[in-house]
């Protein structure tokens, strides 16, 4: 059986009881964070949760065909959902973190958007090369298997689809979906990084172990810690969204895209829990 034939065990419906419990857990986590770290930790945790939501939502846009796409059996990019989103999001994080460090008076909004554009640019180049290989290397025009007409360009799809496949390549809607996914992922990753960095820069110099280091001395530790946690949380959110997608997705026009609310709830709780862990290491005295 291929990944195409694998059907999800359950539908896109939200489980109200589980969602309710999840939201209660999330509120408790936020409360715990406020009790431990006060306002600065609360703002950071909310920023981390928003960043996680951006990543989980963005992953649903990314057209991923997995193994079937490598044989021209399904549309999308021939790699895993979480991995591709991580590649784009981390490229965005690279740009966002740099933009923050370069500016003398850094602005959160500018850095987050820079990160988003970095992720979008990575996806734009990658998606273009996917079509380049399909068209000039394999002579296969793009065709969607999920919709009859590309919702953006109005191009009809079924007649270009090879017999016995689910479609192949990246129709323009999938390209745009990839770019949007990269933008959300890059912005979310950068937001998580900056939220953590802000807290670490504020709190680390006050810790007794860093007494002699001062604000400049702890900066490399703050950047490294925030970067590692941001990468980790990125992967957690991307993998959660990938489980929600189960296998392959063509982009925003795919029926599976409608499942995103479920991933958002899961992502908020996971980001909340990871955020508490990442922040507690500087607030809880050891």
């Amino acid at each position: 059986m291929t990944a195409i034939a694998a059907k999800p065990a359950s539908g896109a419906s939200l489980n109200p009881v589980a969602s309710g419990i999840g939201i209660v857990v999330l509120i408790i986590l936020i409360g715990i964070m406020y009790a431990i770290g006060g306002q600065i930790a609360l703002i950071a945790l909310i920023g981390i949760i928003v960043g996680g939501l951006l990543i989980a939502f963005g992953v649903h846009f990314v057209p991923v065909g997995g193994a079937p796409a490598a044989m021209g059996q399904a549309p999308g990019i021939a790699t895993g959902v979480a991995m591709l989103a991580a590649g784009a999001g981390l490229a965005g994080l690279f740009g966002g973190a740099w933009a923050w460090a370069v500016q003398t008076n850094p602005d959160l909004l500018v850095a987050v958007i820079t990160g988003g554009v970095g992720g979008g640019l990575m996806m734009a180049i990658t998606c273009f090369f996917v079509n380049f290989i399909y068209i000039f290397g394999m002579g296969i025009p793009a065709a969607s298997g999920k919709v009859k007409v590309d919702p953006l360009t109005g191009d009809t799809q079924p007649e270009f689809k090879s017999q016995g496949t689910e479609g192949h390549g990246l129709p323009f809607i999938s390209f745009v979906g990839g770019v949007i996914g990269g933008i959300f992922g890059g912005a979310g990753g950068t937001l998580i990084y900056l939220m953590l960095l802000n807290v670490y820069q504020e709190v680390l110099p006050k810790m007794t172990v860093f007494d002699k280091a001062g604000a400049a001395g702890v900066l490399p530790i703050a950047i490294s810690l925030a970067g590692i946690f941001a990468v980790g949380m990125f992967l957690i959110n991307a993998v959660l969204a990938a489980y929600n997608i189960t296998g392959t997705i063509e982009g925003p026009h795919d029926p599976k895209f409608k499942r995103f609310p479920r991933a958002l709830i899961a992502s908020a709780i996971a980001s909340g829990l990871c955020g508490v862990a990442a922040l507690a290491i500087v607030f809880v005295p050891v």
Binding site: A78, T79, G87
Partner: protein
């Protein structure tokens, strides 16, 4: 960043882009010879469908996490050697060399484990394949790891990116694997492993597992696949990753100081639009020139 001459920064940007291009090309060829990416599903499937083959089979993990591990390891070791006051060039070479052996260990265990799991379908473990392929993938891996770690070192030291070397290695290692697998996998999977299928059409799902197993002379092995994919998929992956690295750094170096950071954003958006336009152009070009799908005429009639 501000106290370094701009020409120097642009030179480093170009150098980083060139290193990324080499890394992307070597990464894709390594993954094709080692059968690391998604097409390996077919290499694993073939014996189960009765097609015994001599293709290497070492999918340790998906390409992005595998390369994330190797580049981070290389960068981390190089960073540790540099912390011991070692010359950076020597440190990077040593770090990448040791990492290459880790890759070799993973490749060996992956091939033996994966192939042994197919024993009940009659797939033998070929020791000559293990001997000849593993070293070739290691060589390609060294080139890719060395180029990427050097690129990360330049970004960190010469351009002043705040991330430490191992973290940059993780970020760019995962991006390298993502770019290389996205660009290179279809060419290896469809065009090489299913070379007998009709050109210009996807592989019908019914044909899954029936990979090409014979070469011009004798049985095909993974070196033949590397020879084939190095002509297009490798360079394309290289240009893809090179462009990603180059344009990302270039827009930051030149345009970040403009408008308190908005300059880099505007340039990034413009570049996304340019790539979208080129993509749309080639998509329409393919639809016009290749036309709709037509079922292949039966071979017997010719």
């Amino acid at each position: 960043m501000a106290d370094i001459p701009l020409v120097f920064e642009i030179g480093i940007t170009a150098m980083a882009g060139a290193l990324a291009t080499i890394a992307g090309a070597a990464e894709d060829v390594e993954s094709d010879i080692g059968s690391q990416g998604d097409p390996n599903s077919q290499v694993q499937l073939a014996p189960q469908m009765g097609y015994i083959h001599r293709i290497f089979n070492k999918a340790i993990a998906g390409e992005p996490p595998a390369w994330g591990l190797w580049i981070t390891l290389g960068a981390g070791l190089a960073w540790a050697f540099m912390a011991m006051s070692m010359n950076p060039i020597l440190a990077i070479i040593l770090g990448c060399g040791i990492t290459t052996f880790v890759q070799g260990v993973y490749s060996t265990t992956a091939y033996l484990g994966r192939t042994a799991s197919l024993a009940k379908f009659g797939q033998p473990v070929y020791i000559d394949i293990l001997k000849s392929m593993t070293t070739v993938t290691m060589a390609h891996a060294f080139v890719a790891i060395f180029a990427t770690v050097s690129m990360c070192f330049l970004i960190n030291t010469a351009l002043g990116h705040p991330f430490p070397l191992p973290l940059l290695g993780l970020v760019w290692g995962i991006a390298l694997g993502a770019a290389g697998s996205a660009t290179g996998n279809p060419y290896y999977g469809k065009e090489r492993q299913y070379q007998t299928q009709k050109f210009g059409a996807g592989v019908p799902i019914a044909a899954s597992g029936n990979i090409v197993r014979y070469a011009e002379a004798g049985e095909r092995n993974s070196l033949d696949n590397g020879f084939f994919t190095a002509k297009l998929a490798g360079p394309a992956s290289g240009v893809c990753f090179g462009l990603i690295v180059f344009l990302e750094i270039w827009r930051t170096i030149l345009f970040e100081p403009i408008g308190a950071g908005w300059g880099a954003i505007v340039v990034g958006v413009i570049m996304i639009i340019i790539f979208a336009a080129i993509d749309r152009y080639i998509e329409v070009w393919a639809r016009k020139n290749y036309g709709p799908y037509t079922a292949p005429v039966a071979e017997a009639s010719s």
